[in-house]
């Protein structure tokens, strides 16, 4: 067991424990804070996968914007009563069953993959960040999805402002 495996196990434990807390704790602010811990663990995984750009973007976008937005929304819609009563609906055993089924199903599919699961990553080329940039803006690669994503973001921003605006 080498150092990267130790780091993987630690961050996997962080991700799974905090993800479980996200879906179980009653106080929604705590759930949002545990979500941040999960996202941080995922950022560590990106570093392990040598996708440094994605790791940093994960922190900037998810922790800096999305998680903060969740905390804001929880504060804006807070009712004291909601912290005391159970936060699950009456169908939670069914939900548990469905998600356990999904887990078993995915694990089954992963086991049945045609390629070797113990394959080891090849060394990364020096200019992988530049390759990512080129792929994002080259017409032969992904410039169209990239632009569509930016239009989607703009539309979402306008829509969010319009929907949440206090029309008086």
């Amino acid at each position: 067991m080498d150092a990267s495996q130790v780091i993987f196990i630690l961050s996997a434990a962080l991700i799974l424990v905090s993800a479980l807390l996200v879906v179980t704790v009653r106080n929604l602010i705590h759930a949002a804070l545990w979500l941040i811990a999960t996202l941080f663990g995922v950022a560590i995984l990106y570093v392990l996968l040598e996708a440094g750009f994605l790791a940093v973007v994960q922190v900037v976008v998810y922790i800096g914007a999305i998680a903060i937005m969740f905390i804001f929304a929880v504060m804006l819609t807070r009712r004291d009563l909601l912290d005391k009563v159970p936060q699950t609906n009456e169908n939670w055993p069914v939900a548990l069953g469905v998600s356990a089924l999904a887990l078993v199903g995915i694990a089954f599919i992963v086991r049945g993959f045609v390629f070797s699961l113990d394959r080891i990553a090849a060394p990364l080329p020096e200019n992988s960040l530049q390759m990512l940039g080129d792929a994002l803006i080259s017409p032969a690669a992904y410039v169209l999805p990239f632009e569509v994503a930016s239009v989607l973001l703009l539309a979402a921003m306008i829509g969010a402002v319009y929907v949440a605006m206090n029309k008086k």
């Binding site: 602010i29 922190v59 903060i68 905390i71 504060m75 960040l129």
Partner: protein, 397 residues
Amino acid sequence: MEFWVDPIKVIFEWLMLTLTGWGLSGELAVVIVDLLGIIALIMGAMLLDIMLVWVERKVVARFQGRLGPNRVGPWGLFQPFPDIIKLIIKEDTTPVGADKLVFNLAPILSLASVIFLWAVLPLASTIVGVDLNVGLLYLVAAGAIGTLSIIMAGWSSNNKYALLGAYRMVANMVSYEIPMVVALLIPTVLSGTMSLKGITLAQSNVWFVVLSPLGALLFLIAAIAELGRSPFDLNEGESEIVSGFHIEYSGMKFGLFYAGELLHAFTFGAFIGVMFFGGWQWPLPWGEKYALVGIFNVLAKGMFFYWVIMWIKYTVPRIRIDHMLAFNWKFLTPLAFVLLMVTAIVHALFMNMAPWLYTLAMFLANVLVGWVTLEILRSNARKQRVAVEAPQPVAQH
């Protein structure tokens, strides 16, 4: 002689020899020496922080026509130590109804978000914690953790003023992040890299402040907003919301917020020096070769911009929150995007021309953008003045 060129390498090799001489394995020795290096860097930053307390108090006093601390030591130089002792022996309170874990975690995260920045700060050509190829984005990511610490502090304090301060601060930081990222993209375009070391090296002939004075100014404004210093200190707003998000903190927990704020300002000053003013290569000319001179250069620039930030802080009054957001969304963000586009176009057009022509074109493009901006602002101001001065109907109903 070699020690003066690259002290870190000499110390590293000596430590490695000592540790492996004790019978440790090579990998473990590397981990231990790296940990020692990290601790040394953090200790250095914190020692600097202690001195920043004195600098801040002295400079504020001079701006306000006072003498400032002058009792403890020469020129009050040892004043921070009584301050620290006072903070440590103060009662450490946690308000009733506070969320204890979050409440105590927030000041730590606040200081940590600043210490994170030192990991990528290139102090000299050979002394840089880690030279990330996404260094500039890392700067923004560390800022995101600072935002988080403030909203945690504001929410967990169980105090309406703290929550108001946190709301304001988060609105401030999230919106000023946009012009900041765009301003960071300008050195990226100019140097073709996001690594801070690469950016410093790209400025060996001409600083980026000459190529993009407007970009440097935009970054300075966005950095002050990100720091939450006056005129953007709505998060504290002592006169309205009694110091905002850290109202409930006492003793060393408040001290961590305070130390974090000072060190944050200094660190951003150092980053401005690195990104727009040539980093370790100036004012002393041997910065490239001798590491210690490089460190002196970076810290001197950091101190200068720290002073500039303080100068603005103690000169300009606080602005109102709607003005602040309008300033960002209606002025700073569009200007930053226009400037980025102009910079990219000029860069693409003049990339292969003579260096002096490239510099001139870049500088003139900046001047042009700045001039057009000022003209638009002036005509807007005129319109508003005319609207105010226009005769009002006497009875509207």
